[in-house]
């Protein structure tokens, strides 16, 4: 029996007791939100799906560590941020960084970029092709911590304290990561302003 009408905390308690249907409700309730976050951070759909899957599995393994008085969505969100960070670190070989920094033509052949540039789909037509590609490249040029801090700040509207807590950084370092991210984006995209 699916318990869509039951709150997260109750479903967590049921899942801890071995009720997998209860965990299924949690997965179905939160997957889409996590996907959006992961897509912003990783820049492609396949990686975003991988992040959601890994975050849900990590959450399941650590369910006993979840404190009932906390918000399950927030707890899950933090796990997903850390999964995205891990994946970005894994996917960001030095080669890609060098290519992105150089703006080398061959960078488009990198698996990371190929995954992003493939299958344009209707959702990617909002920004005109070339410009959209520039924005994606600029986002990929950010370090994983910078990208995470920026996404959490700009798209998710998290405070510096919340971001710092998730990343394990103090306020100064967190703020600096957001600032560096925005500076890099301005360097890459500033010259294109007016062309959009």
């Amino acid at each position: 029996m699916i318990r869509m009408d039951v709150g997260d905390a109750e479903n967590v308690a049921l899942a801890l007791g071995g009720d997998q249907d209860a965990f299924r409700v949690l997965v179905e309730r939160h997957s889409r939100t996590l996907f959006r976050l992961a897509h912003r951070m990783t820049g492609n759909e396949q990686d975003a799906e991988e992040v959601v899957q890994e975050a849900m599995l990590r959450a399941y393994r650590r369910l006993d560590k979840f404190e009932a008085r906390s918000n399950f969505g927030t707890w899950l969100y933090r796990i997903a941020v850390n999964c995205s960070l891990d994946l970005m670190r894994k996917r960001r070989p030095e080669k890609t960084q060098r290519q992105l920094a150089k703006g080398d033509e061959s960078e488009m052949q990198d698996p990371l970029d190929t995954a992003i540039s493939n299958e344009p789909g209707p959702d990617r037509l909002a920004l005109s092709g070339e410009l959209g590609e520039q924005v994606r490249v600029a986002m990929l040029a950010l370090s994983p911590v910078e990208r995470t801090a920026f996404v959490m700040r700009h798209f998710e509207g998290n405070s510096i304290e919340e971001i710092g807590e998730t990343l394990g950084l103090g306020a100064g370092a967190t703020k600096n990561s957001v600032f560096r991210a925005v500076q890099k984006l301005r360097q890459h995209l500033g010259p294109l302003v007016g062309q959009s």
Binding site: E28, S31, R32, R36, G132, H154, F179, V182, V193
Partner: protein, 272 residues
């Protein structure tokens, strides 16, 4: 960052954009209204952020939730060994760390053999047992790890001490350059994680716990600006002080060094 009037730097513009200058909002708006340069800079910032914002988020499709559950459910029922996690864990930096430890073990092994030959030791039965104990791979590895952890703690102490004792300069130039400490903290992060995980696996909770507390501090130093303001420096210093980290590291360092001693003394006795 506070705003007390005048031209806005990039950091202040960003603070204003994200609502962190709420108390000075009216002053900032008035300045932006009057100053064409600051207004142009702010508009350029807004345009860049708008371009990033326009990047669409993919739609995972109508059956995404069901698809996700179908992927997750089998893994909940039957936990299997996750090779992808192992592959991910074995990053080049970790492999280098492993390689270093392995090389040290090999060097220690051959050094022991050469030393025995040079001393023309013909061990009697009890001594053979003694040697076997002293050179058991587990003990050699433990000894090398103790030495490595001891050195790591020394380096950590030195970085934390330098940060704790740093003082901002004159009022005009109150920034402190911590780039050297930052570089060392960055280097130490990988080895810190490696030693912590090793300690966790071997059940050495005291070492694991202190290294676990050290990690966020190293992370914070590594990600701070290379020149920090006096308030940022104070924040770093408070982070170190509030955890009582210096004392914990000193105590652990001394414990680790003491653990090293008996084996060293033991070897010396055997050699004479």
């Amino acid at each position: 960052m506070k705003y007390t009037g005048g031209h806005l730097n990039e950091e202040q513009l960003l603070d204003y954009r994200y609502g962190d200058l709420a108390e000075a909002k009216a002053t900032v708006e008035e300045h932006l209204h009057q100053c064409a340069n600051c207004r142009a800079s702010y508009e350029s910032l807004e345009s860049v952020l708008a371009m990033v914002e326009a990047l669409p988020v993919a739609d995972p499709g109508p059956h995404f939730e069901a698809r996700m559950w179908n992927k997750i459910a089998p893994k909940l029922q039957r936990p299997r060994f996750d090779w992808s996690a192992l592959t991910a864990w074995m990053s080049p930096k970790r492999l280098i760390a492993f390689g270093t430890v392995a090389a040290l073990i090999v060097v220690a092994f051959f050094a022991g053999r050469i030393s025995l030959k040079q001393n023309n030791v013909t061990p009697a039965a009890p001594q053979v047992a003694d040697n076997a104990n002293a050179n058991a791979p587990g003990q050699v590895r433990e000894r090398i790890l103790l030495v490595a952890v001891g050195d790591h703690l020394d380096r950590a102490q030195s970085v934390l001490l330098e940060i704790s004792n740093a003082e901002p300069g004159s009022k005009q130039n109150s920034e402190v350059d911590i780039s050297a400490q930052q570089e060392r903290a960055q280097e130490m992060l990988v080895s810190n994680r490696f030693y912590r995980q090793t300690a966790e696996h071997s059940g050495d909770n005291a070492v694991a716990s202190v290294l676990d507390e050290l990690e966020p501090v190293l992370l914070e130093i590594a990600h701070s600006p290379s020149k920090v303001s006096s308030s940022e420096l104070e924040e770093l210093q408070r982070g170190i002080e509030s955890r009582g980290l210096m004392l914990k590291i000193r105590v652990l360092d001394s414990t680790v060094r003491n653990k090293e001693k008996p084996t060293t003394q033991h070897s010396a006795t055997r050699g004479s």
